[in-house]
Symmetry: C2
Subunit: 596 residues, 2 copies
């Protein structure tokens, strides 16, 4: 670690390093100067080329947050002096830290090379970089809602002029975040074809909320394994930690269940459009080394259909006119009175538990249409036999019966109770929720408007919540209608500004401690592998900062950093949407409307 | 050509071919049956596998238009019997037809292989296919507004059992369209891993409108050469013929002008974000073999800025507050009183004429802010010297002076007058347009609302128009604001349905003959290489059918074919947006809302 008295000596060293650097042959007449915390574009004057500052270099030292996204939630102390780093001389000491950490270290190095437009552009002149990682709870290798994801990251120069990075974290999940932060602080200087990093830095950081998720629906349309991996990559880059996989629905059943293979055989859109056991293993591993849990959702008792044709357990399958029986075609709900159904569910849960090793499980539970059950003879007969009526409360009781029975089968397969997440629905209404979904067992995921009274009702009852209020976090909104003309039901399109300003505190107020976090949802009626990236990114990253940093500022103050982060996502291989003309990135603060 | 008396014999031959086909190992339990002109999904019964029909096969014979997009504008006669084709035995006779045709033939063969999910999936059992192309005007090798793009396409079986395709067209631009149509009629049967095509067909076809364009803005954000080529590929697949390249603007100047290289040196976002002479040559050639003209727009006298810093010809560059001087940052307009400006323009026009060989040229001319000129001393002095006032009519006169002088320099470089396109603006208002933009010289491109009175005024004055009414054809609308929160100025997002139903006839009425066509515009403030595909496709293809087929039906009747065409675009390598759950494609007519 570096002492302050060495600073002057090092400063001279750094200046001398900068002075011998050569300007790229593909040279631009422009460079940047930090004036009042903004990078200002200037023409490089003849003879001043050696002092010229590239935009990325300026961005790193010209603001308090050093261009980091999400911004650290603690101390940020970053030197204004950058030194070149030789990407071929990076050493990460991961001995005795387990395979997750050594995998993450490998990814870190591979990722660095993407700082430059092409690999050959990274010059090799620069300092060696040595990274040392220390874990205080080295055995933690599974993410839970209690995992401490904090870290401390320190860079300094040792006596031999070598850059030393020390990362201290309770566990892998923290140190991996530290590597992401460090990666954001190593930039490509396009005036000199070099990687550069601040000579000193000290950052302590931890997330404000433990659940930071993205939902991807792979049932309305099939999403390729590669597209899923890209999504997880973007999550890692933005410190999100939960990939909520809405893997089946009434439209298709792409999940290959080891014990019930007929479901995907009949229910997949094609024999190629499935997730094999190998695919899932691959995705779960891919996510884990990136600090992301993969949480499966098996949505029931509605949102089932294709794949179940041969079982007799699904009723109202593609019932028409569909508007009477469900919210979108094709309709389908379980006949929850069939005993065999629960054996099938137990099998599926068993397969999922084995493959995903979940610490939390999503049982869906949205949009049950009582009209369907109320028109199904076997169900009516079963209810009559019990002496039940056919009012809302009776169907709620029926649903409660399903929920209890199904959850027991899940817990049986896990070997213990784990937290179960359920969507807001008729069953989460004040009059039903405490009866059927006890708060010690269930977490409720909100998909109503952000100001729906149900939210405060659930908070008052003591429930823990995850926020996916559709007015700010449904990222499929705003496109064309698909069963109508005009635009889709939750239009308009939600800008990143609205996503950013959707603060849990403004929704939960004093009950903020009951909010586990938020989740951006991408329902795939109008999305498939071609457009996942552009729908999710960079908007999901706006939510990421809201959850990680719990910022008190609005999107306005975050704008420049967000433009920088969008560029990072693109370098990471994601087709993230452009937000503004590049001119606004190169001319900070010149684009917002100014008062006359 | 095939005689009708041979049909029975051939039918038997075909049936025997079908019967020896084997079912794929990756087999699906589903197949399709054509019932009441809709493909209906059915479980394949045991023992019936050989008769099972794949979805793509069903789509081709189950509707009047055979799934073609845009639908042919003449005779469509397609056999319901499909025969397998061996992709390795395709022969296209292009001798003596010139290099454009032989290039197009090569592309046709390469494209065929994309019918299957992977190249190795195309089986080799099938008939040889021989394609003969005949041109009646073989010398036509440049697209103009007068080019006859019609064709006739006939398939039959010769005495040796070989598939013979005869394409007759006036020229390359027609026969290339025929190859696109034929390509759409060769489908991949995923139940048998085979390409198949109808055994007989006869199609005559020609476009309803001569100008069918896409505008791409590469100045607000830089768009890579690869992304531009993908766009042109999508255009070829949809029979669009004009790539309108909005290549420069106030934000950046990526165009490398041979005679004025300083403009891109100072004006490009980076030395890598330019279009070199080689890039442009490459794009122009790429487009031409795909039947697409590349028309450059050099927008002036507003929409100029970056790049011109050293010349002294641009005023109000990045003037603030920008709202006073322009519609979006950065502001910038030519000082049209500077004589040297016209020499610079002549040089740029000269470079463009040499590179693009344009038959029509776009001079831009939108959004001139008189406030800028009215606050520029040199301009005020120049106008005073001429004894002009400083009212709208005086500034219109000034603009008219610019337009006349600049157009003369353009014509000088072309060697003759060519049609010039201008955007609707203050100068196209009734009181100015006939004075400054004579109708024999200028075509007006509409970007107002589709019901703006200016449209009928211009039609009454006898102008020829191109429609880009922003309420239906600005494909960048509906996303987040970028200088504000909320959504961008022309929200909401425009669904394909609205694009399709934007019929020139409903806008122009009896003056329809003055409409040259339409153009979908993609302004790039919030788009760069990552999202060009998803913004343009498949929506631009909806416009393509409106222009090619001049359909009397609405989007409702075109829906299934449009879903099919979207899949084609994806196979062609474009990240076209998904429109609906795949379930709706597999279950035709089950998704639209049904009345109770």
């Amino acid at each position: 670690m570096l002492k302050h008295k060495d600073m002057k000596k090092l400063f001279l060293l750094v200046v001398s390093i900068i002075c011998v650097q050569e300007i790229s042959s593909l040279s631009s007449p422009w460079s940047w100067e930090c004036i009042n915390e903004a990078c200002v574009k200037k023409e490089t004057q003849p003879g001043q080329e050696e002092k010229a500052i590239s935009l990325e270099a300026c961005q790193i030292f010209c603001s308090e947050e050093s261009g980091l996204w999400p911004k650290p939630n603690g101390v940020i102390n970053v030197s204004k002096i950058l030194v070149p780093v030789d990407p071929s001389l990076i050493e990460i000491n991961t001995r005795r830290l387990g395979s997750l950490t050594s995998e993450a270290a490998k990814l870190f190095k591979e990722e660095l090379i993407r700082r430059a437009p092409t690999a050959r552009d990274v010059g090799d002149k620069g300092k060696p970089l040595s990274i040392n990682i220390f874990h205080t709870e080295p055995d933690t290798d599974k993410l839970t809602l209690e995992t401490d994801e904090s870290y401390n990251l320190v860079t300094g120069i040792d006596d031999k002029g070598k850059l030393q990075v020390n990362i201290t974290a309770p566990n892998f999940f923290g140190s991996r975040h530290a590597l992401e932060t460090l990666g954001q602080l190593i930039i490509y200087d396009d005036l000199r074809n070099q990687l550069k990093t601040p000579i000193f830095l000290n950052i302590t950081d931890k997330p404000a909320f433990p659940y930071r998720g993205i939902l991807l629906d792979t049932a309305r349309n099939y999403i390729s394994v590669d597209a899923i991996k890209k999504t997880i990559n973007g999550m890692a880059a933005s410190k999100l930690n939960t990939f909520h996989w809405h893997i089946t629905d009434s439209h298709s059943f792409p999940y290959v269940s080891k014990s019930r293979p007929q479901l995907s055989q009949y229910g997949a859109y094609s024999p190629r459009k499935v997730y094999s056991q190998k695919d899932i293993e691959d995705i779960v591993d891919f996510a884990k080394v990136r600090g992301v849990r993969v949480m499966p959702e098996f949505d029931a008792p509605a949102h089932v259909g294709e794949g179940w044709q041969k079982t007799g357990y699904v009723v109202c399958l593609n019932a028409q006119p569909w508007g009477t029986y469900c919210v979108e075609p094709p309709c389908g709900q379980f006949d929850v009175t069939k005993d065999g159904l629960y054996d099938a569910l137990e099998d599926i849960y068993g397969d999922m538990v084995e493959q995903f090793d979940p610490d939390i499980f999503h049982m869906g539970g949205d949009e049950v249409h009582f009209t369907c059950w109320n028109q199904t003879k076997s169900i009516i007969a079963w209810m009559a036999q019990k002496g039940w009526g056919r009012e809302e409360e009776d169907f709620a009781k029926l649903w409660g019966y399903f929920q209890d029975t199904a959850a027991d089968r899940l817990f049986k397969k896990v070997g213990k109770n784990i937290p179960v997440i359920m969507w807001t629905s008729t069953l989460t209404k004040k009059e039903h929720v405490t009866k059927y979904l006890p708060k010690d067992k269930y977490i409720i995921q909100i998909w109503t408007l952000g100001n729906d009274p149900q939210i405060s009702e659930l908070l008052e009852e003591g429930y823990k919540l995850i926020l996916s209020n559709y007015d700010a976090l449904y990222l499929d909104c705003g496109f064309a209608g698909w069963v109508t003309d005009g635009n889709n039901w939750c239009s308009p399109y939600i800008g990143w500004q609205k996503v950013y300003d959707n603060k849990p505190k403004s929704i939960a107020g004093s009950r903020i401690n009951q909010i586990l976090g938020s989740e951006a949802a991408l329902w795939s009626e109008q999305v498939d592998s071609t457009s996942v990236d552009s729908r999710l990114w960079p908007r999901a990253a706006a939510m990421a900062e809201t959850l990680w940093s719990d910022p008190s500022n609005t999107w306005r103050e975050a704008e420049t950093r967000f433009l920088i982060h969008r560029e990072r996502l693109v370098r990471r291989g994601l087709d993230a949407d452009a937000l503004e003309p590049e001119w606004c990135l190169q001319n900070e603060n010149e684009c917002p409307i100014k008062k006359v």
